[in-house]
């Protein structure tokens, strides 16, 4: 048995039976990081020494009964846009290279309450803007399935670290697909919860009305377990919803016979790689075999979602990123003689090209004279997208689409072509626009052995339904036992 191959629920069982200790688990992971990080480069900051110390303390706390959680001592990795007290939070940007938050994000408080051990902060596209993690200021993370390809993004470090078994699970954030798309590229499970289910307090904002934190895990059960930890109302986030606490593992094993799956045909049209489409068709057949009723339908509005997304996200980003002005924290230029220079040069030198591109775009669409044509119209389309989804969910329990039109692409092939990079989000953005939950699970590999992701979309706060459908498929096909990343060069 290799410890790092185990899922978290398997680790929990072995901790409970005494077969494994917290120290053993932590050591297995710190060793694995030693072994693989050089190739994968998933971390911005590793906390291996701290984690070893923490493991010892946690073992004592468990022994003394001070902490009772069955997740005590389970390691985790955190995307580097969630604030961690005392550990720097960079957003993979030069702007925040040395920024140490004086407080913990709400999700960090929650995982700390459970006694989980933070193995480090994971690489991402700068300020979560990108789909390949190539826009990190620090390093380019590699996809463990083929080190010449990208891990996806923006939570590329999180997905690659889980796939490379350097962490048993991780937290990512998803604004337009940033959990699901890298999960698909790296052959792991990624869940974006309903907007408002998980507190955003302490998540460095990209686009406030779209951002959500979610789990990236080895399997669906782990995703449900981690969602149990992070979900819930937070007084510090006005947009977090006060809904009843649920145990998301309870719904996993329900029979899916008779559930209605809608397949929006627009997601299978032009631009979708034929091999990706083929794997999805096979998955649909599996669902039919399990007794699900699958039906194709038209979600016509979907074609406007990408444009809407880039207007809304950039507009909010242009305002959210204003606070990085070189005055109170973060990067400040050395080259200034007046206030205007501090602003101009700090931001010019501190932000990378993709962040600047989006700030400029967002500033433009909010400018007087353009607001109505862009931002206001985008908000109207957003309402229409929500209504279309509402209609779909009147008929179907779950919608099924590819997570991304392609498998992981080669490093350097798209980073200079923003438009092509934006198309990587085409299957995922409408879910954020409508505030819905979506999960990506692996559904096979293509002819080159690269994982293909399937996305299941649910109605607001119906995470249980997509987890149930995802779990049933996972049990049937057992991807993880069949395929493992090979660190191909």
């Amino acid at each position: 048995m290799k410890i790092t191959e185990l899922t978290v629920h398997e680790l929990q069982d072995k901790l409970a039976s005494g077969e494994l200790t917290v120290t053993q688990i932590t050591k297995a992971y710190t060793d694995r990081i030693q072994e693989k990080e050089g190739q994968v480069e998933a971390f911005v900051t590793t906390l291996t020494d701290e984690a070893t110390e923490e493991a010892k303390k946690m073992e004592e706390k468990i022994a003394s009964g001070e902490i009772k959680s069955s997740l005590a001592g389970i390691p985790i990795g955190i995307k580097d846009n969630m604030c961690t007290k005392g550990v720097r939070t960079t957003c993979s940007s030069r702007m925040l290279e040395n920024f140490v938050a004086p407080y913990d994000a709400t999700v960090i408080e929650k995982i700390n309450e459970q006694g989980m051990i933070n193995l480090g902060k994971l690489n991402m596209d700068e300020f979560a803007m990108g789909a390949s993690t190539e826009y990190s200021y620090f390093k380019k993370t590699k996809n463990p399935w083929n080190l010449n390809t990208v891990p996806g993004g923006s939570s590329g470090g999180s997905a690659a670290a889980v796939a490379a078994q350097m962490v048993p699970w991780a937290l990512g954030s998803d604004t337009g697909g940033s959990i699901r798309q890298p999960a698909a590229f790296c052959g792991v499970v990624g869940l974006k919860p309903t907007y408002g289910l998980v507190s955003r307090y302490g998540l460095v904002a990209f686009a406030s009305s779209l951002d959500q934190i979610g789990p990236i895990t080895k399997d669906v059960r782990d995703a449900a377990i981690l969602l149990n930890v992070i979900a819930g109302h937070d007084e510090k986030d006005s947009t977090s919803q006060n809904i009843e606490k649920k145990d998301y593992t309870k719904a996993l094993e329900k029979d899916i016979k008779g559930i209605k799956i809608g397949v929006p045909k627009e997601y299978f049209g032009e631009g979708i790689n034929p091999e990706v489409k083929e794997k999805l068709m096979q998955a649909i057949e599996e669902y039919k075999k399990m007794g699900a009723e699958v039906e194709e339908f038209s979600l016509d509005i979907a074609k406007y979602a990408l444009a809407t997304y880039y207007i809304v996200a950039c507009a909010e980003a242009s305002s959210n990123l204003g606070r990085f002005d070189g005055i109170r924290y973060g990067y400040r230029t050395k080259n200034f003689t007046n206030l205007k220079d501090i602003y101009k040069n700090s931001r010019s030198e501190g932000f990378g090209p993709e962040v600047k591109r989006r700030i400029i775009l967002g500033t433009y669409v909010l400018s007087s004279g353009y607001y109505d044509a862009y931002y206001k119209k985008a908000q109207l389309v957003r309402t229409l997208v929500m209504k279309e989804f509402e209609k779909a969910f009147a008929k179907y329990d779950v919608l099924l689409t590819p997570t991304s039109p392609t498998v992981a692409f080669e490093i350097g092939t798209r980073s200079n072509n923003p438009l092509e990079m934006y198309l990587a989000d085409i299957c995922t953005v409408s879910v954020n626009i409508a505030g819905l939950p979506g999960i990506s699970i692996p559904c096979g590999v293509d002819s080159k052995g690269m994982p293909v992701g399937m996305q299941l979309i649910g109605n607001r706060f119906q995470e249980e339904k997509i987890l149930n459908a995802a779990y049933a498929y996972e049990q049937k096909t057992n991807f993880r036992k069949t395929y493992q990343p090979e660190f191909k060069k």
Partner: protein, 480 residues
């Protein structure tokens, strides 16, 4: 043409800091003062990842202000972001309200320059957060940012351009201040910046229906400066027009020392605030019940106090109006009246000597340093005959300088009235002896001569002799 041919048009945007205990989007204290950056937290310092949560009290206070100024209260409202860069604005946007303010279409009643009633229309009242403060760095170059004030809640009340003179503008601002004080939503301390106004001024030829181009003077925080600035700016504009020039729409800075306005920004800095709804906050929905509850709980406003003073204390309309113009004066009056039970005397003291001293010292009523108890003591000391009213005036002067127990003051200064018969008799005899002419005048029927003799006796005792006793004893001595 002359200045008399022009009409001045003024509109005010008044910012009042709300007196809630905590800031608008975090739980830091709003208290004035404190070491720099001690009333701050990650939220009001705009640390990455922090989020605002609206303080419900702020909505309540704004609704109160709206109801007290006869506004319509919006059932659906929201917060918007106003984006601009400045070091005192940590998020680089101010959370304010753009197209859906909490309160709209209000009216404030004032008097015009002829003393006739006038209605000033309030366009809107909205809620927003205050910015921080930049302090000149005493230890080196540049400025230091103090964020204690960042996130203190404000209401901005925007008037229509209904005001026609500097004095009218002053009366409007005083009225608004008084209303906010009465409903206790703001302490309105202009000297601490908790009440400030942006003043918009334009001029046009009398009879013209179109408005002239306006200029704006920001952050004015004294009545005197506002009056002077409006007068200066209106005259400047008239001079420009008379010389055939055009007024530029711009933001000006009033310099109180030189008594002039200066241009603040060049045109390339024309701001586009890129307002949009703040996605971190949810819509504000108010129920009719909520609004009605606040309406019922509104305290007594100046108009109704004025009427009550006229009925209950039989004060004249003018006195009642002057007393109720400021909540501080009015409260001082009510408290002192309650102790002494002598409304007339209290009103007299407040409206004559206290008001005169305030004027001389250029102080506002809220800066009166002594308490109602101390004022009451002064009145009682007169009633008891311990001091004369002439001495009492001096005591009040001292109270302004160094407020303490009036009894202590008169002890220290040796101002206790002489009411000892023997002592007074001695003075009376001395004065009679020294003024034979006046004595014979009085005996010859000139009543006036008595006044002179009493005056001489007062002089002799440095004003401390009891005047009633003096009168009495002179009459007795002279009829012997």
């Amino acid at each position: 043409m002359s200045r008399e041919d022009y009409e001045i048009v003024i509109g005010l945007e008044v910012h009042a800091e709300l007196s809630t205990k905590t800031k608008i989007f975090c739980s830091c204290p709003t208290e004035f003062g404190g070491e720099p950056n001690t009333h701050t937290c990650p939220i009001c310092m705009a640390m990455p990842g922090t989020l605002p949560v609206l303080n419900e009290k702020v909505v309540e206070y704004a609704v109160k202000a709206g109801l007290a100024t006869n506004c319509e209260i919006a059932r659906d409202s929201k917060n918007d972001r106003k984006n601009y860069f400045y070091p005192d604005l940590p998020k680089s946007y101010q959370i304010s309200q753009y197209d859906k303010p909490l309160c709209e279409h209000g009216v404030v009643e004032i008097e015009d320059d002829e003393g006739n009633p006038k209605t000033v229309r309030l366009t809107r009242i909205h809620i927003e957060e205050d910015a921080g403060k930049l302090n000149h760095n005493e230890f080196g170059g540049g400025s230091l940012v103090d964020l204690n004030r960042a996130g203190v809640p404000l209401i901005e009340s925007v008037s229509e351009p209904d005001l026609r003179s500097a004095k009218e503008a002053e009366r409007y601002l005083r009225k608004l201040k008084s209303i906010f004080e009465y409903i206790e939503v703001s302490d309105c301390k202009m000297q601490e910046g908790s009440l400030r106004a942006d003043v918009n001024v334009s001029v046009r030829k009398k009879g013209e229906t179109k408005f002239g181009t306006r200029t704006e003077m920001k952050n004015m925080n004294s009545f005197r400066a506002i009056v002077r600035a409006i007068e200066y700016e209106a005259n400047r504009q008239i001079d420009v027009l008379e010389e055939g020039g055009v007024i530029e729409q711009e933001t000006l800075r009033w310099d109180d020392v030189s008594g002039r306005t200066f241009s603040m920004r060049d045109k390339e800095d024309a701001q586009d605030y890129r307002y949009f709804p703040d996605p971190d906050l949810v819509a504000i929905r108010l129920s009719d019940e909520y609004i009605e509850k606040i309406r019922k709980e509104l305290p007594e406003l100046p108009e109704s106090r004025r009427k009550r003073y006229m009925e209950e204390f039989k004060l004249s309309e003018k006195d009642a109006r002057l007393l109720t113009a400021s909540k501080y004066l009015s409260d001082l009056f009510e408290k002192a009246e309650q102790i002494t039970g002598n409304a007339k005397a209290v009103a007299n003291w407040i409206l004559s000597d206290i008001s005169r001293i305030l004027n001389e010292k250029e102080l506002e009523a809220d800066q009166i340093p002594f308490t109602a108890e101390e004022l009451d003591k002064v009145i009682q000391l007169i009633e008891k005959g311990t001091i004369s009213s002439a001495i009492a005036k001096k005591v009040v002067e001292v109270l302004f300088e160094n407020p303490k127990d009036p009894e202590e003051i008169i002890q220290e200064k040796g101002w206790i009235q002489i009411s000892d018969e023997g002592a007074i008799l001695e003075v009376v005899k001395k004065v009679i002896e020294a003024n034979p002419q006046s004595v014979s005048d009085f005996k010859g029927g000139k009543e006036k001569a008595l006044g002179f003799l009493v005056g001489q006796a007062m002089k002799e005792t440095k004003g401390k002799a009891n005047p009633q006793m003096l009168n009495q004893m002179f009459k007795e001595e002279l009829s012997k």
